[in-house]
């Protein structure tokens, strides 16, 4: 199987989902991203990303219980799967390794 790659924006979304552990759904993710990165992002982009991530198996979702807000509509809450977490860690490791090499080259 082809190795699943993660886009840059997807990575941010995935990290945000992890950050929001338990309360990650469209709007919170959106706000978190805007807040933390300062990018101008719209909801549809977040949703598209979430969808792709779910297809890739990095996150899983379930519907929340209906609440009064949002006209009684339920939310789709996302959590990062083990596979997602592992992918993030892998990326982190690769980058750390590369940075490590960069600094050792510079230092020498």
């Amino acid at each position: 199987m082809k190795r699943v790659s993660l886009g840059e924006f997807e990575e941010i979304v995935l990290l945000t989902v992890m950050l929001l552990e338990g309360n990650a759904y469209g709007v919170t993710i959106l706000h978190q991203i805007i807040e933390q990165t300062g990018r101008s992002v719209r909801l549809n982009q977040v949703h598209a990303s979430l969808q792709r991530l779910e297809e890739k198996g990095m996150i899983k979702s379930k519907m929340s219980a209906p609440t009064q807000e949002r006209g009684g509509r339920r939310k789709r809450l996302f959590t990062v799967t083990f596979y997602g977490q592992k992918t993030l860690e892998e990326i982190q490791a690769v980058r750390a390794h590369l940075w490590g090499m960069i600094s050792s080259v510079k230092n020498s």
């Binding site: 469209g26 709007v27 706000h31 719209r42 909801l43 549809n44 789709r76």
Partner: protein, 892 residues
């Protein structure tokens, strides 16, 4: 929170748009998120800003990937649709049968009519140069100002056009100079038309030769090229190249034997030219001196069909006036040139030669009006079959509301429901299409025999086949839309309840469809009735002469023509023969008439009249009464006496006609006009009753009778009045007499009434076609009605049960339900009558003598339809009405 005062929501259209395309699986969360964000934005910045953001996000969602997740794969869904479709068919067998049968009939007729029309349109297109081939037409201005269009030209037009105009690649001429007897076996000889063509016939056209060299086959004298069926007829084999055949034409008083220099395939039936034997041009000058004159100097006569092959079709316009000029330049100075020449494209000949004289090479020509009519019928049939389908499946949807309700509750989208209905219709129409194709293969031989064509499904070009299948499937799919949309609109809660009405209850479309179907049915039925009535009228109308028990013998040889008085006596010798007459032409004639220009003495302008030479017994034999004066009499010098019909007297404006002198300046035969050397002056000795010489399509023409031995006289027929119960016996006797007079040429005879019947053959055939299609239409309409009544009855089965319990009789119930449907038929009558009236009036204008359209026919048509509809309704309601109410009421 200021925004809260106005409390505006997100833009409504954006929300609707979102609902339209968003996967319902996701809709809830997406909408929720959007709304939450909207409110957040309202608080944070402005409503305007929030709305803009909302809209942009909604538009952003349109990206394909955001909508990609489907609940299941399309192929899985489709296979489920097919499964359901087949289950439906199996479950409702009557419904399925009626539906499939109706569509099959509709498709069948549509395909057959398409084949027919394609064939009619494909005439003469099989020649590879057909787009560059033209026939030369001559349009001659007559004395009375009318144009006479003739398909034949003088002998030299063709060769000179080829020689002088570089734009012309080739020309080719065909002429027919009468008939001859052929055959090596004296007991089985037959008559063949002498068709003479230029030697380049086989390179000009693409008629394939099976044996012989197409370039040289027709070059030498005394050779012929024959068709396969000719070869089989006279030789019993097709490998006849080089064989010789006896003919009745003579050179130096010896019969000429022709050598077969080529065998051609039988001409395709969609060729307007159809010959069985072609004679080489070079055979004839040595036999007939006049033929030599004709081919060497003729610029005047109308003898040859002349075909021109242009190098470039664009030059057609510019060449026409030059042909006219060419002929004008060569026209004899003694005669006035009043003609114009045009080129008629080869492909037009079959359908557009209605009023062209000498075009008798196209006996199978057809008025394009009928093509349009057939195309119209084809589409009507398809329409009626589709209406039927639409009607039935809407009715059936009633029974499927549970299925639909369940599907909806389980989350089926509208599109899925609609696609289920469309799958249904595609399945049914594919079945119907296959059945139709199978049936067509089975009935094709019969159809071909009936239409005298070689129709075959395989002959249809791909574009036609695809369009036909496309039209059929499109029709079926379109007719699935109505039931699909109407059921898709129903709310699941309603759909799950038992009693449900679909559609507008007061004026259901279904009723309108029934009205439409019956309107078409009544139009067809009344048209059929009118066609038959007109045929009947023409057959039974008193045409002024006797046609029963008259036998006409064609004179085909000089021996039969000479000494006609003694031959008359011979033919008159059997006791069954009451009288014998000889004449140049006979009523019901299909050879061209001699037409004379006749004028009263001193008048400048003449009238065109049929010019017939007759003997003393003609009036007696044909039972034509003399109004005034006398008949031609034996022993009197009547060669300068004439007898006129009443109509001729009227046209000439003669009062006291007996004894007056009339003048005949010209007599023409076929396309050729022959001015007489001097004006023929004759005295009127008798006035005959009017009668019809031709079919009742044309107006009665005036007739001038001349005695034997008058100028332009050549007897061509004996007419025998016979009274017998043993026709074969009499004919044997006549054959024996014929053999005694002329051993070489077989007796050729016709019954006069069958000749008149021949005039109406095409109409009778069209009548049959109309009748067939009417029956189909009525059948489909009735099946639709039957099914509709079935559903109505089923929906009301409880009501019927309760009514019966409360004391309603069977008749009451049948009446109650029938009434509702029969009213529809009455409404249909009201729509149909004006339409049928309009079209049939138009059709009848084709006939000089026609029936008057009256209400009677339409009443009969209406009654027929009413009866059929009533029986249909009754068949179904009686069953429901006689059911024991206990059964129907207990079914809950």
């Amino acid at each position: 929170m200021e925004a809260g005062k106005i409390n505006p929501g997100p833009p409504k259209w954006a929300r609707k748009l979102l609902r339209l395309y968003c996967d319902p699986y996701q809709l809830e969360e997406v909408e929720g998120d959007l709304e939450e964000e909207f409110i957040y934005q309202c608080k944070k910045s402005s409503v305007w800003r929030a709305q803009l953001d909302y809209t942009r996000s909604v538009l952003g969602f349109i990206k394909p990937f955001s909508n990609k997740r489907k609940s299941s794969s399309p192929s899985l869904m489709l296979s489920n649709h097919f499964k359901i479709s087949f289950r439906q068919l199996m479950k409702h067998k009557t419904f399925a049968f009626i539906n499939i049968f109706g569509l099959t009939l509709g498709f069948l007729c549509f395909i057959l009519l398409s084949l027919y029309i394609h064939d009619e349109l494909s005439f003469d297109l099989f020649h590879k140069d057909s787009a560059r081939i033209y026939r030369v037409l001559q349009h001659e201005k007559m004395e009375d100002g009318t144009l006479r269009d003739v398909a034949t030209t003088a002998a030299l037009v063709g060769p000179e056009v080829a020689a002088q105009f570089p734009e012309v690649e080739a020309t080719m001429r065909i002429s027919s100079i009468g008939r001859l007897t052929m055959g090596n076996d004296p007991t089985s000889r037959g008559y063949e038309v002498i068709t003479i063509t230029d030697p380049n016939f086989f390179s000009f056209f693409d008629f394939p030769l099976l044996a012989g060299n197409p370039k040289t086959a027709l070059v030498h004298p005394d050779v012929i090229v024959v068709s396969e069926s000719f070869a089989r007829k006279y030789f019993g084999a097709t490998d006849v190249l080089g064989k010789r055949i006896w003919t009745s034409v003579t050179r130096n008083d010896k019969p000429v034997e022709f050598t077969i220099a080529g065998v051609m395939k039988d001409f395709p039936k969609n060729s307007f030219l159809r010959f069985d034997v072609i004679f080489s041009d070079s055979s004839w000058p040595s036999m007939f001196p006049w033929y030599q004159d004709l081919i060497s100097s003729d610029w005047v006569s109308n003898t040859y069909l002349t075909f021109v092959k242009l190098r470039d079709p664009a030059t057609q316009q510019s060449i026409e006036p030059r042909i006219t000029q060419l002929v004008k330049d060569h026209y004899p100075a003694t005669r006035a040139f009043k003609s114009e020449f045009t080129l008629q494209p080869l492909a037009d000949i079959h359908l557009n030669s209605d009023n062209i004289q000498d075009s008798d090479a196209a006996p199978n020509g057809m008025n394009p009006f009928y093509l349009y009519m057939f195309a119209g019928i084809g589409f009507l049939l398809l329409l009626i079959a589709c209406l039927n389908y639409m009607n039935l499946s809407t009715a059936a949807a009633l029974k499927r509301t549970r299925e639909i309700g369940t599907r909806k509750t389980l989350g089926a989208q509208r599109l899925q429901l609609i696609s289920q209905f469309i799958t249904d219709s595609v399945v049914i129409s594919l079945i119907a299409l296959m059945l139709a194709l199978i049936i067509i293969q089975i009935v094709m031989p019969m159809v071909n025999q009936f239409t005298d064509k070689d129709l075959s499904l395989l002959d249809l070009p791909l574009s036609w086949s695809l369009s036909i299948v496309g039209i059929l499937l499109l029709g079926a799919v379109l007719s699935a839309f109505y039931p699909a949309f109407i059921t898709a609109r129903v709310s699941p809660a309603e759909a799950l309840k038992k009693e449900i009405r679909i559609g507008n209850a007061r004026l259901p479309l279904r009723k309108m469809l029934v009205v439409a179907q019956f309107t078409i049915s009544i139009i067809m039925i009344s048209s059929t009735l009118i066609i038959y009535e007109q045929l009947n009228y023409m057959r039974s109308k008193d045409i002024g002469i006797e046609t029963e028990n008259l036998l006409v013998i064609d004179i085909n040889s000089g021996r039969l023509r000479r000494n006609f008085e003694s031959i008359k006596a011979e033919f008159g010798s059997p006791a069954e023969v009451l009288s014998v007459s000889t004449s140049t032409r006979v009523p019901g004639e299909w050879k061209s008439f001699h037409m004379a220009t006749v004028r009263a003495q001193g008048e400048p302008n003449g009238k065109e009249m049929i010019y017939v030479g007759i003997d003393n017994d003609f009036f007696k034999t044909y039972d034509i009464k003399l109004k005034e004066g006398r008949n031609f009499e034996a022993g009197r010098a009547d060669s300068s006496k004439v007898i006129l019909t009443e109509l001729a007297v009227k046209e000439l404006g003669l009062t006291n006609p007996i004894g007056q002198i009339i003048e005949i300046p010209t007599v023409r035969w076929g396309g050729s006009i022959e001015p007489l050397d001097e004006v023929f002056k004759a005295e009127v000795v008798g006035i005959a009753e009017n009668f019809h010489f031709e079919s009742l399509r044309t107006n009665m023409k005036p007739v001038i009778f001349v005695a034997p031995n008058t100028p332009v006289q050549r007897i061509d027929y004996y007419t025998l009045k016979i009274k017998t119960n043993d026709w074969p016996g009499v004919i044997e006797k006549l054959k024996a007499i014929n053999t005694k007079i002329d051993a070489d040429d077989p007796l050729e005879y016709t019954f006069l009434n069958s000749r008149f019947e021949e005039f109406y053959k095409a109409d009778a055939q069209r009548g049959q076609i109309f009748m067939t299609f009417s029956l189909v239409v009525v059948l489909i309409a009735c099946m639709g009605l039957f099914a509709l009544v079935s559903y109505a009855v089923e929906a009301r089965i409880k009501e019927i049960g309760i009514r019966k319990v409360l004391g309603a009789s069977v008749n009451n119930i049948v009446g109650m339900i029938s009434k509702e449907f029969l009213i529809l038929v009455i409404i249909a009558c009201m729509f149909a009558v004006p339409v049928a009236w309009f079209f049939m009036n138009k059709w009848l204008h084709d006939f000089a003598y026609r029936i008057n359209l009256n209400a009677g026919i339409f009443i009969i048509a209406g009654l027929i339809i009413m009866t059929i509809a009533a029986i249909t309704v009754w068949l179904r309601t009686i069953r429901a009405a006689t059911v024991n109410p206990v059964k129907s009421l207990r079914s809950e």
